[in-house]
Amino acid sequence: MAPIRKSPRNGLVKMYLSNIAVDPDRTARLIEIAKTSLWPLLEGAISYTIPLTIISFIFGLLLAILTALARITHVKILQVIARIYVSAIRGTPLLVQLFIIFYGLPNVGVTLDPFISAVIGFSLNVGAYASETIRAAILSISKGQWEAGYSIGMSYSQVLQRIILPQAARVSLPPLSNTFISLVKDTSLASVVLITEMFRRAQEITSRNYEFLLVYTEAALIYWVICSFLSVLQQYMEKRLDRYDV
């Protein structure tokens, strides 16, 4: 027992493992639970975590592009609206935003489906954060690119679409990938608005069997696998876009 006392953390792990080792029945039970909870967790990921992430990101990105453009126009009122929006979202916790949308809006007669509430909450969030990224990326493209576009007769929107945004996309790909990966993890907050995404599934499972460590770790591993896959995808996309290096 002496080594256990040496380091409390090490001790806890050992205790857990020795529990399992000592009790073969318990080992078998844990393996069984790990196996039987895998599919419900994956199902939560496939039917909620992943769709919620993708749908929110697409809407969020559109919103972010519009917000970024609003912030760089010369139209004062658009600038102000965009600024207030970004400031309000960045200045309040995502959890509170989700509560306002799902639990708060019914007080004024607006009752939304949980999934819709979550999509709105996450899209607004991505829209605000990503708009800063996109705005910075657009501003990082040299003025000469605008002028070159104008000089061959292009209009503002043609230069924007064909010359500026493609280059800004390359610049903002790494930070936007980070936003996307964060979003995968943030969707676990949707559990509070009753969506049975992966984390809520984990909560449901543990409420029956009390194997918190095992089941939450299992969920964590699945998040990890998804995010690692996305990182690889990001690297691949960056390489593809690097055909030209500026």
């Binding site: 040299s142 000469g144 690119q145 002028e147 070159a148 576009g149 104008y150 000089s151 061959i152 007769g153 292009m154 209009s155 043609q158 064909r162 010359i163 493609p166 280059q167 390359r170 055909r243 030209y244 290096d245 500026v246």
Partner: protein, 244 residues
Amino acid sequence: MISIKGLYKQFDQLEVLKGIDLEVEKGKVVVVIGPSGSGKTTLLRCVNVLETPTKGVLTIAGQTLDFSKNVSKKSIASFRRLTGMVFQNYNLFPHKTALENVMEGPIIVKGEDKAKARKKAQELLEKVGLGDKIDDYPSRLSGGQKQRVGIARAMAMEPEVMLFDEPTSALDPELVGEVLKVMKDLAREGMTMMVVTHEMRFARDAADEVMFMDGGVVVERNKPNEIFSNPKEERTKRFLNMIM
């Protein structure tokens, strides 16, 4: 072909162009020289309305913009189509190949058919000696090659007038010749050109007229031989002594 009348340009407090008058006949080449800050770049940028003049009247190929009145975005856009601009630092589109850089204007602005635009772009690139580089991205090209793509890109829009702002001053000396050669070819083919440059060799060989600017005004204009060997104004003499 080009007519500039009473052109003024002011940035905030600073008056950069103080009444420029200039006529350039079709097919003629005017070289603009002058000390740094004299307003050469600003003049070219006013001619293709990248800068909006404070006042003055610009006419190119019969189209007129009078900046004492309000000019619409639309009239600026159609006026700009009459000019092609070559920039000191190329400003090629880095995410497009040489060919795509040249095709962009014809396809997007003129709405030309893709195959036709491609064929024309290829011919233009061959003409500037880059037939073997059409699929390269600008990052793979030397400065001289980039600038020749820049010229081809402007030419693809079939402008009435070509404007060059120090097209060779960002280049290593050994690359200057290849760009000047393309410009001389253009001049020989009858393109109307306004060229800001410090290459006096080019001015001697290709210019019909040299215009010396200082402090936002045209100090002296004359045939290259005249102005170089027999400048009339004291300021012109001093400037030429300094650079030659």
